[in-house]
Point group: C2
Chain length 293, copies 2
């Protein structure tokens, strides 16, 4: 990756996503200097100790001086606040990207905050690592072979798009470009909906008077089905709010599918149940083969 | 386990459940002779090769001659047929158990089939190993530390209950006794419902025109959430039919819980979403600690 050479990378939010981005670019020898900004000085000091960042910037102005790449990797609800802080300090020729799980809201925030610098912003979503958090979990390998969705806006400059794409490629990721609307719809179906369903199931059982006894008979299937219900409640609240209309549409569609399942059960329709289960198994196993290859 | 000594164990259906039972009892030196009966001669021959059974019985009469313990480990829908075959051959003093995932239907089948031998039947459900199948997957370790639910009926003789309990204990299992009604309700909540939900989600996505693209953005969370949707469609059809009223009640209850989630989303109620997600995470993590200890 000798064609990517970032002089100075500024990271806002040095956690799993930001830290892994820095480590991956360092390993690829694609970056000369990395500075971090964040609300927790203890976390930033740990990031220096771990060799994730070279130094801590006192503020956005210091962080962005000379920076040709900026990553905003804070919780989605804080993105606009951070973009407001950096707007006046983004250097000409610098590119700004992010790691948010939803994209329409991030773009709306960028339109509000960045003014004349909007064209330097290239939104991205690395599909990786949601169940861990913190700089301690950061690794140079997090993005290897994983998909990063780029959702450029009409205004995005080619130069900025290229720099952002090359940086994610240098991390070992596979890039896919789509609109923010399509991204949010796809993720609502295959990520946000399953998380909401897992939370809702565990919540329902925990809420019962005999919840503790019920849990004591749960096995490996239940454990895997609900693993994502151990994810961060704050993060998933924010994702559900940021992508509210599309998550709502998916929950509604799923409730309708369950109504069909209820009909099959009501009329004891074995063939219909088996067809539904068989279609699911066939589709899942076909998908798994593509994942493994 | 020198206090358990089974002279002859007869197994109907030598797959994962039956084969593992035989291997675990052999390892505990708790059984002298094991014979198998089944519809596939090739599978039974393989079971002999693997040392799971000593010999293949030609029919129920041959299998049950001298047998003091009988395990019926066939798919639940076939239980009554097998119990009819064995009813006239069960020796006085022998105990009969099973490995079915639902218990009210198995007991109804036993009442229909066993006549005067009903008191020798002690229904059981080992909560283990649903995602694998076949004698090749059988292992002496399958039941170690796992829960086996015993659902004795009023008629069950103490001698039969003791022999069945000692056999499962010799396999390394933890025993819990409850009524068949309670068993079926508990499993509907923590096993049958999650399976139905996972099948329904994958089926819904696979059914869409853009299903293949949606799957291509599914990550590790989706993979784990849907793992149980790769289970046997026939087996889960049968479980859903056998436990139909209780599975239906759980699917309905879950749909109501999703309706609440939809309300939270509709009114963009962040605190309510976070409370639901946090309650789920707290309950799941508390449960995980009990599983690991």
């Amino acid at each position: 990756m000798t064609d990517v050479r970032i002089r100075k990378l500024a990271i806002f939010g040095v956690g799993l996503i930001g830290g892994s981005f820095a480590l991956a670019l360092r390993r690829a020898d694609a970056v000369a200097q990395v500075v971090g900004v964040g609300r927790s000085q203890a976390n930033l000091a740990r990031a220096v100790e771990l060799g994730v960042i070279d130094s801590i910037a006192a503020d956005a102005a210091e962080a962005l001086a000379g920076a040709d790449l900026v990553l905003v990797a804070v919780p989605v609800q804080q993105t606009e606040r951070v973009l407001n802080q950096i707007a006046d300090h983004i250097e000409p020729g610098a590119a700004v990207t992010d790691g948010g799980s939803t994209k329409r809201d991030v773009i709306a925030a960028a339109r509000n905050a960045l003014g004349a610098r909007l064209a330097q912003f290239v939104p991205a979503h690395p599909i990786a690592g949601a169940e861990l958090s913190g700089v301690e979990a950061a690794t140079a390998e997090l993005y290897r072979g994983r998909t990063v969705v780029i959702t450029p806006i009409a205004e995005s400059l080619n130069e900025a798009r290229t720099r952002v794409a090359q940086a994610w490629l240098a991390c070992g990721a596979r890039l896919v470009e789509m609109t923010a609307e399509r991204h949010d719809a796809v993720l609502a179906a295959v990520s946000h909906l399953p998380h909401a369903l897992a939370f809702a199931l565990v919540d329902m059982i925990a809420d019962r008077a005999d919840g503790a006894e019920l849990f004591s008979f749960a096995g490996a299937g239940f454990r895997d089905f609900t693993r994502i219900a151990s994810s961060s409640p704050e993060m998933w609240r924010d994702i559900c709010l940021a992508n509210r209309d599309l998550v709502l549409a998916e929950v509604s569609a799923y409730r309708e599918r369950l109504a069909i399942l209820e009909q099959y059960l009501e009329r004891a329709d074995g063939p219909a149940l088996e067809r539904m289960f068989e279609a699911a198994r066939t589709a899942r196993n076909a998908w798994l083969r593509t994942v493994k290859s």
